[in-house]
Amino acid sequence: MRQQQFEAENQTLWDEITQLMDDLQRSRSKRRLPHSQHLDFPDHYRQLCNHYALARSRGFSPALVDQLHGMVLRGHRLLYRQQGGWRWRVLYFILSGFPRAVRRNGGYFALSLLFFLLPALLMGVGCYLQEDLIYTVMDENMVAQMETNYDPTNERPGRSVERSSETDFTMFGYYILNNIGIGFRTFATGILLGVGTLFILLFNGLVIGGVAGHLSQLGYHETFWPFVSGHGAFELTAIVICGAAGLLLGHAVIAPGQRTRVQALREHAEESLQLVMGAALMLLAAAFIEAFWSSNTLQPSIKYFVASLLWLCVAFYLMLVGRGDHGSR
């Protein structure tokens, strides 16, 4: 069959497909063709692929082949795109997917926890016993700043004197920018053989442990611990989960097992994304609690009570929610 004959025979079909694709590209409410016609799309598309293959193998003109290539490409994108349903997916993710993902990756979580908690404990005890050990991880200005933040004479503990006039809202924004950013970095740098993640975990462990030990040794526990204990439930757990996600990436690069490194990386990246997104939501909750609850000056006993409830919530959520869905643990 000559090219011209081929074109003449199929032009109507091609026009129809182009029209159909134009319509499918519009948002759902703006489509003009009836739904029954949309259902023909896969059939038409396969026919189009057939024509493209024919044109190519029969040596039809480059312009025709290009035109059909363009149409197939467009059809491919339309037929295989993912769309819709994201609201339900987000809800399902929170109610089941995320805690299940954390449990599936319990080993990474444990390792991440170790790299965070161990330096924190060691540094905490060290700073409690040795007054000037804190200066090994923070400079003088930062220490002085931190000391005034939690000085019992400071009316708004947890905030510097200049900051105390700022509203809780401002601090909410600041915590989001800063803390979720740290979480994302902890995850992303894991792709560098896990080194970045471990470094961030270790460093944060040292600083946080150091600050806690130092302030307790100064006798500021009445201001420090009631402030941090509440949001810490979400914040610290989330950072450890981000660490676990980073280690998951690093593991794929170091030891891909029976797959190529790229394959392993892709699989682990998808898994770790669930951890990071869940952790980001937890950090959002932590920012909210830190800004609007932690900053109040209620009785320490009340704050400790609420804090223990929050820790229980997090533990319950991560350990039990979603158990049994799809036969999971």
């Binding site: 003109s61 480059p62 490409l73 509203t167 401002t170 924004g173 560098l192 994304l273």
Partner: protein, 237 residues
């Protein structure tokens, strides 16, 4: 673009063409975008981001405490999700769009939300130690110009294929070529006829005169003869 699947590395693979076989059994061609065009796109986006930052600061500074909060949250969103929002919407940030490139999955489908988030979170690692040095090295040592984020997300950055309005070859009386032509030769003639009108007259004639030994013609006549052969290949007679 025309030859079938190539075996091993051939001259075609010197080109940055990436070929993917779709489930329907046909091959799709994508032109991969290299580091330079992507860096330009990034620079445009960086400038745009700078402007958005400025506007945010100027507008929200008027609102006091809540304004500052919104500003900080805005900073967070722009820092991490600016590319994601655009890529999910139409595959390209404004910078990429301006440079005529877009992000796709490495099976040729539009980039998925999760892949977009992965590739953009991992920018942090690609950026290290300065100005995307890690990303650049990674792009140069794999064949698809993927940075770390692309490797993990399974995405590619390719040129947006412009659909050109197809021009019919100029009308001419079809005449049979004097000798039997191979398929490649026929295709070359067709390509000449289809693209000839985009060339200057001088260049067109120069190309047609390459066949002076076979056709014995020169100038415009040589061009017309080739058009006639092309028409014969298209229509037969």
């Amino acid at each position: 673009m025309q030859a079938g699947v190539t075996e091993g590395r051939s001259i075609e693979q010197l080109d940055t063409l990436w070929r993917y076989e779709i489930p329907e059994g046909v091959l799709l061609d994508f032109r991969l975008a290299g580091p330079v065009v992507r860096a330009c796109a990034w620079a445009i986006d960086a400038a745009l981001r700078g402007i958005i930052y400025l506007v945010l600061v100027m507008v929200l500074a008027l609102l006091g405490g809540i304004g500052t909060a919104l500003m900080l949250i805005g900073f967070f969103l722009i820092e991490w999700f600016y590319p994601v929002v655009f890529e999910i919407h139409n595959g390209a940030t404004p910078g990429k769009r301006a440079m005529g490139i877009l992000v796709i999955q490495d099976n040729g489908t539009p980039v998925t939300p999760s892949a977009s988030v992965i590739r953009n979170l991992l920018r942090t690692a690609d950026f290290l130690p300065f100005l995307y040095a890690t990303g650049l090295v990674t792009m140069l040592i794999n064949q698809e110009f993927k940075r770390l984020g692309d490797l993990a997300a399974g995405t590619l950055v390719v040129y947006r294929d412009e659909q050109h309005e197809r021009k019919d070859p100029p009308l001419a009386i079809a005449s049979k070529p004097p000798i039997e032509l191979s398929e490649t030769e026929q295709l070359t003639l067709l390509a000449f006829a289809e693209r000839g009108e985009n060339l200057s007259i001088g260049r067109r004639e120069e190309l047609a005169e390459l066949l002076v030994e076979q056709t014995g013609l020169q100038d415009g006549k040589a061009v017309d003869a080739l058009y006639a052969y092309a028409n014969w290949i298209l229509k037969g007679r």
